[in-house]
């Protein structure tokens, strides 16, 4: 179909520009979510007076649907908190908040499932709690929760399609622009869908391969 060439291939610059924005938003959101999730998790577990606050935040970020959170962050926060000032920031911020809730729970499960013997061995060797945490706990938690962490990244990518609603020029938004210009949705939307599916698939695959490789190196069974 010549339409493919005309509508998709010739417009690839437009689509790739959108794709670049999507990747940018997702990477920033992901890194923020990892840090945010870690902070929330540690506060929840180890900072007793703030425990309740952390739990409430974690639950709120996890349970609120991403679309609702996005609208709330994009339209209510600027008035109440003074930021975010642009929709790009609102986009990655909302994505990051939602995922930080999930990751906080993932990290907590990882930390709590670590056998106590690991800590006892470290303390017996004279390691301080901070050292133990850095050298014994975190590496193992990262290793065991790697699949969940990679999965969160795919969730972020899939949810990022919604930021087109608050006019961030991501891949979804660019393809919708093209549809509005050319009035021929079939090829454009199918190509966009295929791009997203392929991208998410490859991330999952890459994540699984890397995880298996790393586990092999450490002599653990492939998951």
């Amino acid at each position: 179909m010549g339409n493919w060439e005309r509508l998709v291939w010739n417009q690839r610059d437009v689509l790739f520009a959108g794709f670049a924005v999507t990747i940018e938003v997702c990477v920033i959101a992901f890194l923020s979510a990892v840090i945010g999730g870690l902070v929330l998790c540690l506060v929840r577990l180890y900072v007793a007076p703030l425990r309740f606050v952390a739990v409430v935040l974690i639950e709120f970020f996890r349970d609120t649907p991403i679309f609702v959170q996005l609208m709330w962050v994009a339209y209510v926060w600027p008035e109440v908190f003074g930021f975010p000032n642009d929709f790009f920031t609102a986009g990655w911020l909302a994505l990051a908040l939602q995922s930080s809730g999930y990751l906080a729970e993932t990290f907590r499960a990882g930390i709590e499932s670590l056998p106590r013997g690991q800590l006892e061995a470290a303390f017996s060797a004279g390691m301080s709690p901070v050292q133990t945490f850095r050298r014994v706990v975190i590496p193992q938690v990262v290793l065991s929760s790697a699949p969940s962490i990679v999965n969160q990244f795919t969730v972020i990518v899939k949810s990022s399609t919604l930021i087109s609603v608050i006019t961030v020029p991501d891949l979804m938004s660019q393809s919708q622009k093209l549809v509005n210009v050319w009035y021929e949705p079939i090829e454009i939307l199918t190509a966009t869908a295929a791009l997203y599916i392929l991208f998410v698939f490859l991330i999952s695959l890459a994540g699984k391969l890397i995880a298996d490789r790393v586990r092999q190196r450490f002599g653990l069974a492939a998951s």
């Binding site: 639950e59 679309f67 959170q69 008035e79 949810s159 979804m172 998410v200």
Partner: protein
């Protein structure tokens, strides 16, 4: 800032429109119900294909799962609503349009069929081979074994995960407003257009969903804990 804070927490506006918003929520529940049925049945079918003896069946099943599991809800929603009718129209040489509700049910149902298929497949593969051998030794047909031995056990084991997927699906129904299904968020945006006061409405929507989902997931978590203990006893 505190003025805006006061305004957004002034939920009287939200309360004032509660009738319309409640109707919107009903739509979310309706979409959820139908999409969940689609997701369960199609997902079970795909899972059975993936564990079938024949390679072509397994390939079809895997393609289905990878296609839908990796697809963003929103793009699938848009595609089903705008592209699928055109494709069908091309084939039957007539103009076809989907009612937004139908598009929503199909799109979300199929996306989640991918997740359910994976959960079912994982469950099926943990049934000990011995259970099936015993069934075969007694002369039970493969169909009988599937329905009387495999599936009852799969359902019992997968119930916690299925509950989580259902809650996810319910959260996902919030996007159907984007193809004009009159759900809660759609009605919220209608009211905002009228009243020009987004703060209390978006905040109210966020709180409403938070409370509902929080109640649902807490119940699901408590139930799953007791269920797991019962099943693994």
């Amino acid at each position: 800032m505190s003025d805006a804070l006061k305004q957004s927490l002034d939920l009287s506006m939200f309360w004032e429109y509660r009738a319309i918003l409640w109707q919107g929520l009903i739509f979310n529940v309706l979409v959820f119900q139908f999409a969940a049925s689609v997701a369960l049945s199609v997902g079970l079918g795909a899972a059975l294909l993936r564990v079938n003896r024949f390679l072509p069946a397994r390939i079809v099943g895997t393609l289905h799962v990878e296609l839908f599991r990796n697809a963003p809800d929103y793009i699938m929603l848009v595609w089903v609503h705008f592209v699928l009718p055109l494709l069908i129209g091309l084939v039957i040489q007539r103009r076809v349009e989907f009612h937004p509700f139908i598009s929503a049910v199909i799109a979300l149902g199929f996306v989640y069929s991918g997740y359910f298929a994976e959960a079912f497949r994982a469950g099926i593969q943990t049934i000990p081979q011995g259970n099936l051998d015993a069934g075969r030794a007694f002369g039970m047909s493969e169909r009988l074994i599937l329905w009387r031995i495999t599936l009852p056990q799969v359902v019992r084991r997968m119930l916690p995960e299925a509950l989580n997927l259902f809650i996810s699906l319910f959260k996902a129904t919030t996007i159907v407003s984007l193809i004009a299904v009159p759900d809660l968020m759609y009605n919220v945006s209608m009211v905002i257009q009228q009243e020009m006061r987004p703060l209390p409405l978006y905040t109210g929507a966020a709180l409403t969903y938070f409370l509902i989902i929080f109640a649902l997931s807490s119940t699901a978590r408590a139930f799953s804990e007791r269920w797991r203990q019962k099943i693994l006893a």
